[in-house]
């Protein structure tokens, strides 16, 4: 499973994940408090500079990550052009793109390991008051492991379908996939139990 972290090493990769998230929260709040159009434009321009600093590959990769936003930008601009209050449309669009781009920047510069470490620390207070958060953390690698397994099985089902039917595969494929997931869950539970089980008791 490939995470969305950029393979282009930047200086920000080394920064603590908590600090980056806190900065993101502050920046996004500021975006909503800033009213003037030029300020919103400044933030977006600054964000683009941050994207461009690590080089062309990082910029291209980053812009591809946020491409889903463009239809919404187009929608806003057309809508406001018809309504006649285009500055409002531009302001909302600028804010939306900047918020999305900044959040994506944190994802691109933070490794999966750093994120799970941060999660571990964030969950610590819950652990101290006796919630079985250890189970959450042990479930994360299970999902990471089993997603490709299920995707692989889904692909095989699709191929089996194509080999036998002239029609395109449709929603019927979801039934065997769900059954496979249920069976895998039973096997996994047995395997976990056989190895001593999950150990929430130490945390509980």
């Amino acid at each position: 499973m490939i995470s969305l972290t950029s393979p282009v090493r930047t200086r920000a990769h080394g920064w603590p994940a908590g600090a980056k998230l806190l900065a993101l929260a502050c920046a996004t709040t500021a975006l909503f408090l800033l009213q003037p159009l030029w300020a919103q434009a400044m933030v977006l321009a600054l964000t683009l500079v941050l994207y461009a600093l690590p080089g062309r590959h990082f910029l291209g990769h980053g812009l591809r990550q946020i491409r889903v936003i463009w239809p919404f930008v187009a929608l806003l601009l057309v809508w406001h052009a018809f309504a006649g209050n285009w500055p409002e449309g531009i302001r909302t669009a600028l804010r939306m793109v900047a918020a999305l781009a900044l959040a994506n920047l944190v994802t691109m510069t933070t490794s999966l390991g750093d994120m799970t470490d941060l999660l571990h620390r964030l969950l610590a207070p819950l652990r101290r008051i006796g919630l079985p958060v250890g189970v959450i953390e042990s479930a994360i690698p299970l999902v990471i492991r089993f997603t490709p397994v299920l995707i692989g099985k889904g692909r095989m089902l699709l191929e089996a379908w194509r080999a036998r039917s002239p029609r395109r595969a449709n929603w019927h494929i979801v039934l065997p996939m769900a059954l496979l997931a249920l069976d895998d869950a039973d096997h996994l539970a047995e395997a976990l139990r056989a190895r001593g089980g999950l150990n929430p008791l130490t945390e509980e």
């Binding site: 490939i2 995470s3 969305l4 972290t5 990550q65 889903v68 936003i69 919404f72 929608l75 806003l76 809508w79 909302t92 939306m96 918020a99 999305l100 781009a101 900044l102 959040a103 994506n104 944190v106 994802t107 999966l112 994120m115 799970t116 999660l119 959450i136 479930a139 994360i140 299970l142 999902v143 990471i144 089993f146 997603t147 397994v149 299920l150 995707i151 889904g154 692909r155 699709l158 395109r168 595969a169 449709n170 929603w171 979801v174 039934l175 996939m177 769900a178 997931a181 249920l182 069976d183 895998d184 869950a185 039973d186 996994l188 539970a189 047995e190 976990l192 139990r193 089980g197 999950l198």
Partner: protein, 183 residues
């Protein structure tokens, strides 16, 4: 304990897999993301509590940077975009779907799952999604409802398929649905 965690994890993986398995087209040729169906299934199959946890686990993995949303999207950006409300609504949708199937007094398993999926995966999910979109785009609730209305028929269809799937799963793996025992 292990069985619960395993099912929660496997359904989170199933939701992810349904978003990444290429093109599932409906009878009419309308391409849909089967991911929304995964949310409904998690609620209808696992029940309110475990369905909710399963979807939360899925979102947690998306947030820490795995590209598990339909179309290979993920990371923190999806929680800042105009469709973030739908993501916030996902676990609630699974919870409501699960709550309904657990509490409804309907003999027909598939019908129960269908109504649960409509309540959770359409009514509740769109309520969250539309409020989120209205906040992000600066449009009124009714304007956003109009924007999203074209997607509602597709999601109703997904709820119907979920009902059929749950009825079929209940036949194939009678023990898998915890809540059918007290029907």
């Amino acid at each position: 304990m292990e069985r619960n965690v395993a099912q929660i994890a496997l359904f989170a993986a199933l939701i992810a897999a349904l978003g990444l398995v290429p093109k599932i087209t409906l009878a009419f040729g309308v391409p849909i993301t089967a991911q929304g169906m995964g949310i409904m299934l998690a609620g209808a199959m696992l029940g309110a509590k475990r369905g909710f946890l399963s979807v939360m686990l899925f979102l947690l993995l998306v947030a820490i940077g795995l590209p598990l949303l339909a179309g290979g999207r993920g990371g923190l950006a999806v929680f800042a975009g105009p469709t973030a409300g739908f993501l916030v609504g996902f676990p609630i949708a699974a919870f409501v779907t699960g709550w309904f199937v657990e509490h409804a007094r309907l003999r027909h398993v598939g019908l129960r799952a269908f109504i649960g999926a409509v309540l959770g995966g359409v009514v509740v999910l769109y309520a969250f999604g539309i409020v989120g979109m209205s906040l992000s785009l600066g449009k009124s609730i009714s304007e956003c409802t109009m924007l999203m209305a074209i997607f509602i028929p597709g999601d109703l269809l997904k709820a119907a398929i979920t009902g059929m799937l749950v009825a079929a799963i209940a036949k194939a793996r009678p023990r898998a649905l915890g809540w059918t025992a007290n029907a």
